[in-house]
């Protein structure tokens, strides 16, 4: 087990690369064995909410864990506004800036309910009820005839002074009336500010939302963040005793990492550690503690933008990687 421990010293890291290959050492054989992988590979979910997930992948290589992370960010498809047709915009925010802002609004649409667009088609034939969601935005700012006396707040003085993502209205096309009857398309975060208006100004536009991937544009990425860190390890070699010393030791780590029992420090929860290396700066702890990280223990954190649940995004990333491998397997190799 200690061969998967990355050493973290004051000014260097050690033992960072995987060596689990046949022929690397005479001991274990390390050849790929699916049954062995089934037995050793572990997943441990610590929390799973509508928007965030935190789970551990244990005994998997960095290259594969990193592939899942990269795919979640840039290759799991989702829906975003791609084309905006502006009919009228007398606000101070320019058409192209407004269009960009609308593109970045995360939408609550199941990506599986749409098909891919065919970019080779002419623009007038490209969008159908199978591949496009139409949203419209029609707002006009007016004066509030009876504002509260003495108010200087634009929200009270005017109607529609602020335009929010919730003002985008879903316009179901064709079969979408049936298909999206129970879950109409809305912005997943309704309170995103799109523009500010003053009396007499108005915005009227229509947005076409399509499927895309994050590698094409970040607006198509289904995750706000998808990241992993390696499991921290704190190894106390020599006992740390005494009220003053244990307190100082505790303060070198985030709260909850180090506990004190019978006036002696012990590692309570190393998972909470940020590996700040603060403890290595103090001469009194010199040689008493070793820091490290498990090279094959990944703590994933996935935050969804709202279209899909985070576990679904992870599932899709696994499927995308498998499809890549299977697709390439079936491709003929050109000489």
């Amino acid at each position: 087990m200690s061969d998967t421990l990355v050493g973290i010293e004051y000014n260097r890291v050690t033992n960072t690369t995987s060596t689990d290959f046949p022929g690397h050492s005479s001991g274990d054989d390390h050849a790929w064995d699916i049954e062995k992988f089934k037995d050793t590979f572990e997943i441990d979910i610590s929390h799973l909410t509508e928007r965030t997930a935190n789970f551990d992948l244990v005994h998997i290589d960095t290259s594969v864990a990193n592939a899942f992370r990269r795919i979640m960010i840039s290759e799991v498809p989702s829906v975003a506004a791609e084309t905006v047709y502006v009919f009228n915009n007398t606000s101070v925010i320019q058409d192209e800036v407004l269009a960009h802002r609308i593109g970045l609004i995360p939408l609550k649409v199941d990506p599986d309910s749409l098909t891919w667009i065919d970019p080779s088609l002419d623009e007038k034939d490209r969008f159908t009820d199978e591949n496009t969601i139409v949203l419209s935005l029609d707002v006009k700012c007016t004066k509030n005839p009876h504002p509260p006396s003495g108010s200087t707040d634009p929200k009270e003085l005017y109607n529609n002074a602020h335009v929010y993502a919730r003002d985008l209205k879903f316009e179901p096309q064709g079969r979408q009336i049936e298909l999206f009857k129970n879950n109409p398309v809305v912005a997943s975060d309704p309170d995103i500010l799109l523009a500010k208006l003053r009396p007499g100004q108005e915005i009227s536009l229509r947005a076409h939302c399509i499927l895309g991937v994050g590698s094409d544009h970040a607006k198509f990425s289904p995750v706000a963040t998808a990241s992993y860190r390696l499991m921290p390890v704190i190894n106390i070699i020599e006992p740390i005793k005494g009220k003053e010393l244990t307190q100082k030791f505790q303060k070198c780590f985030p709260p909850g990492v180090i506990g004190v029992k019978d006036d002696e420090a012990y590692v309570k929860d190393s998972r909470r550690d940020t590996v700040s290396r603060e403890v290595l700066r103090h001469p009194e702890f010199d040689g008493k503690v070793k820091l490290g990280r498990r090279r094959d223990h990944f703590i994933f954190n996935v935050e969804s933008t709202g279209a899909m649940s985070p576990e679904e995004i992870f599932f899709k990333s696994v499927r995308v990687l498998r499809n890549k491998a299977e697709y390439l397997r079936n491709c003929p190799i050109n000489e």
Binding site: F41, T49, S63, V64, R322, P332, I333
Partner: protein
């Protein structure tokens, strides 16, 4: 193929042919005559597949060397070099690697859905 193949079969075959990309992967110069060593170039792939595939091919005991590179960051090309000890060809090693990678993904997917179904996790963020 015999002359009297039913029409249905022909169309199915045509669809499958259209699905595979003839330009996706090609053999680069520098392969040995026995096929034990070869380099491949894959179009439209990056470190995501490259590094994972390199790892799984290196885990094959018949493979002596495997490495990958992205020759230029603005070209969507992935080069993979495979050298075997001679018992299998580089193409076989590549195919075994791809098969192993997809079975690995199947295990990950199964384990994850098992854990989701088992529940046993917090549904509120700490």
């Amino acid at each position: 193929m015999s002359e009297d193949t039913p029409m249905a079969d022909v169309t199915v075959e045509k669809e499958q042919e259209q699905e595979v990309d003839l330009e996706k992967v090609k053999l680069l110069p520098g392969s040995s005559d026995d096929g034990a060593a070869a380099s491949f170039q894959v179009i439209d792939e990056d470190h995501t597949l490259g590094n994972a595939l390199r790892y799984i091919i290196m885990k094959n005991p018949e493979v002596e060397f495997c490495g990958y590179s992205i020759p230029h960051p603005s070209e969507n090309k992935l080069n993979i070099r495979i050298q075997t000890y001679g018992n299998i060809t580089a193409v076989e090693a590549l195919h075994q690697g791809l098969d192993n990678l997809s079975e690995m993904c199947t295990v990950v997917e199964e384990k994850f859905s098992e854990k989701i179904q088992a529940g046993n996790y917090n549904t509120v963020a700490p």
